[in-house]
Amino acid sequence: MADENREERAANLFDLRRIIGGVFTAWGVLLVILGLFDSDAEIEKAAGVNINLYAGLGMLVFGLLMLLWAFTRPLAQELGTDQAGGTAGSDDEGIAGKPDPRRE
């Protein structure tokens, strides 16, 4: 039971990197495409900076790095470090420990 919960929670962590990576990769691609087609007028407006292109590339790189991190430090490894360290248990205990003055 403890392992299952831990697994699920580690999966949560994992999901977040994928979500962020996915979102930024998608936006990055979109912006790069826009940037390649932006008119001169639009570039001039942004003080001469083709911001869609640059921001898009930046986001794309960031998104891919996030995804890379998510996939190269997979679930098993996260769980492994957790268990080896023997972290202070709190996953299933709820508010265990000393007598609870709240629940008389």
């Binding site: 962590l13 936006w27 921001a55 202070a88």
Partner: protein, 549 residues
């Protein structure tokens, strides 16, 4: 040219729409992992430090931070960095290194709950109620600020903007609880950066880099003094645009307001309490402090850029208030695509602000008021369900408080006034309670009451015109300072006349009696040492302040 309706197209709306879909999706996914009330309110106390750290800082990057800091940058110049380097950073380090062992080690689920264990029920109830009220007022500020921006930029009617944002946040918080709030906050952090970095970059190119900006600032309304953080703040000879002495900045802003906010505001502390062990909980505010060191470059700089680039900013012309600095820059520079990202970033920041407060609200109402005093002994699922109801009710009420906020033209000042009333007295009570074992429960209660009444009284007196202050900000600094002092004095006086708790009951709650942390057995890598991170960040803040003196 006063018309600043943005020229948005379907690409921008596509970007915004995908963001909303992801945010709601996270809510649904998080819901599946909720098995207990601990999961719902404290994310199962299982999150790693980088997530809680980013959520911690993101919860603070609400509407008022993003818009307000730029506004302050335009109005006061470089001195605004003091909010960060003298105010926030030391406070966050203090929270991480000194107070977190008590918060986390005592296993309390909320800040008010600490008061219950350390003092008594009365202080617990008082703080829970005032905190609940405060969070709803603050959530309302964020909702209103969002609606203002949507109306300005997209032409949406104010009420429509408020309701759309409220519904989306209500949905993902009530579904997924704190996990949902935190995951989205981490996402929001990056989205906000994705919006602000390009704006800052373009702006700097436009004005000719930092050197060009400096030249143009010297010619602007804030002049040379606007380029300095602390120069020109000597008592009796204040030439810095911020209009305060360094004493006021360091003690009023830095100590009472900043410490009061970061160390006792449950919306922040909750994120640290959800960490998986004490070291992670300690590192949460410390990790959050690292981006905080550098945020001035993307939050204050745009304000200064706006001052020199947007003619008439800060004047009485329609739509030219300082709060509009960022929206005006967006209108000035951004093409479609990037514009959608920037709009999404703004919305993300508002939603982060609302969500942080609503998730703190539902926790305090459920676990601090309803569970112990109103409906005890119900099943765990009952409390989770109630938490969901509380979320929706809280958001509904904050829509109303949004309308209160609408009567203020500088939201940042309204917020500081709220903090002076709700956070400053609490901070005094906490600090004394944590370090002075002799402090009695009765003192905990009466100190809080005295402090809160003091700050509220000053506020009302100022608003009613009975008491004069230099400005709104001046009133809140004095309010916070007075509340702190009055609370402290009353605390000491009452303590000397009443009985303290037996010392054993203070285990884990006071200095010198912290719970031996089980996670001391965990092997942490050297760079994960809280002290190392904390002192490095402090050093960074000191260096930056000197550089920009």
């Amino acid at each position: 040219m006063n018309e600043i309706r943005l020229d948005t197209n379907f690409v921008d709306y596509l970007i915004i729409a995908t963001y909303f879909v992801v945010v709601l999706g996270v809510g649904f996914v998080a819901k599946r992992y909720i098995r207990s009330s601990l999961d719902y309110f404290l994310s199962g106390r299982s999150l790693p430090a980088w997530i809680t750290g980013l959520a911690f800082i993101s919860a603070n990057l609400g509407a008022t931070e993003v818009l307000g800091m730029a506004a302050n940058g335009a109005q006061y110049g470089v001195a605004t960095v003091n909010y960060y380097w003298i105010g926030a950073i030391p406070a966050m380090v203090f929270l991480g290194l000194v107070m977190m062992p008590f918060y986390y080690g005592s296993k309390v689920r909320s800040v008010p709950e600490y008061l219950l264990l350390r003092f008594n029920k009365q202080s617990h109830v008082f703080n829970s109620v005032t905190f609940a009220v405060a969070t709803i007022l603050i959530a309302g500020v964020n909702l209103y600020a969002l609606a203002l921006v949507l109306e300005l930029l997209l032409g949406w009617p104010i009420l429509a903007g408020i309701i759309v944002a409220a519904v989306v946040v209500a949905a993902y918080i009530s579904l997924g609880g704190l996990s949902s709030a935190i995951y989205n906050e981490v996402l929001q952090f990056f989205v906000i950066l994705a919006a602000l970095i390009p704006i800052t970059a373009i702006g700097l190119v436009d004005v000719g880099g930092w050197g060009g900006l400096q030249d143009r600032i010297k010619e602007s309304s804030i002049g040379e003094a606007g380029l300095h953080a602390l120069e020109g703040t000597n008592p009796g000879d204040v030439t810095n645009p911020i209009g305060a002495t360094w004493i006021g900045i360091v003690f009023g802003l830095g100590f009472v307001l900043a410490f009061g906010y970061w160390t006792t505001n449950f919306a922040e502390v909750q994120r640290a309490l959800s960490a998986k062990d004490l070291s992670s909980a300690q590192r949460t505010p410390l990790i959050g402090a690292i981006p905080k060191l550098f945020l001035p470059f993307v939050m204050i700089l745009p304000g200064m850029i706006a001052l020199v680039v947007i003619p008439g900013l800060g004047s009485d012309q329609p739509n030219m208030q300082y709060n509009n600095a960022i929206p005006l820059l967006m209108n000035e520079y951004l093409p479609n695509g990037m514009l959608g990202i920037a709009l999404t970033g703004l919305m993300a920041s508002f939603m982060a602000g609302v969500a942080a407060n609503v998730s703190a609200f539902n926790t305090v109402v459920t676990t601090d008021l309803v569970e112990p005093y109103i409906k005890r002994g119900q099943s765990d699922e009952w409390y989770v369900r109630f938490g969901r109801v509380a979320t929706i009710a809280g958001i509904a009420v904050s829509i109303l408080t949004a309308l209160i906020a609408s009567s203020y033209d500088n939201l940042m000042n309204y917020l500081q006034a709220l903090f002076s009333i709700f956070n400053a007295p609490l901070f005094a009570t906490f600090i004394i309670g944590m370090f002075w074992k002799r402090m009695t429960p009765a003192a905990g209660f009466w100190g809080l009451i005295a402090g809160t009444i003091t700050a509220a009284g000053l506020f009302i007196g100022y608003k009613a015109g009975w008491i004069g202050f230099g400005s709104d900000l001046d009133e809140s600094m004095w309010g916070a300072g007075s509340a702190f002092v009055v609370d402290a004095i009353v605390t000491v006086l009452v303590t000397l006349r009443t009985k303290p708790k037996p010392i054993e009951e203070l285990q884990g709650l006071v200095y010198g009696m912290a719970n031996i942390d089980e996670s001391a057995k965990v092997k942490h890598k050297w760079w994960e040492s809280p002290k190392l991170v904390g002192y490095s960040v402090l050093a960074g803040a000191a260096i930056l302040t000197i550089v920009f003196w």
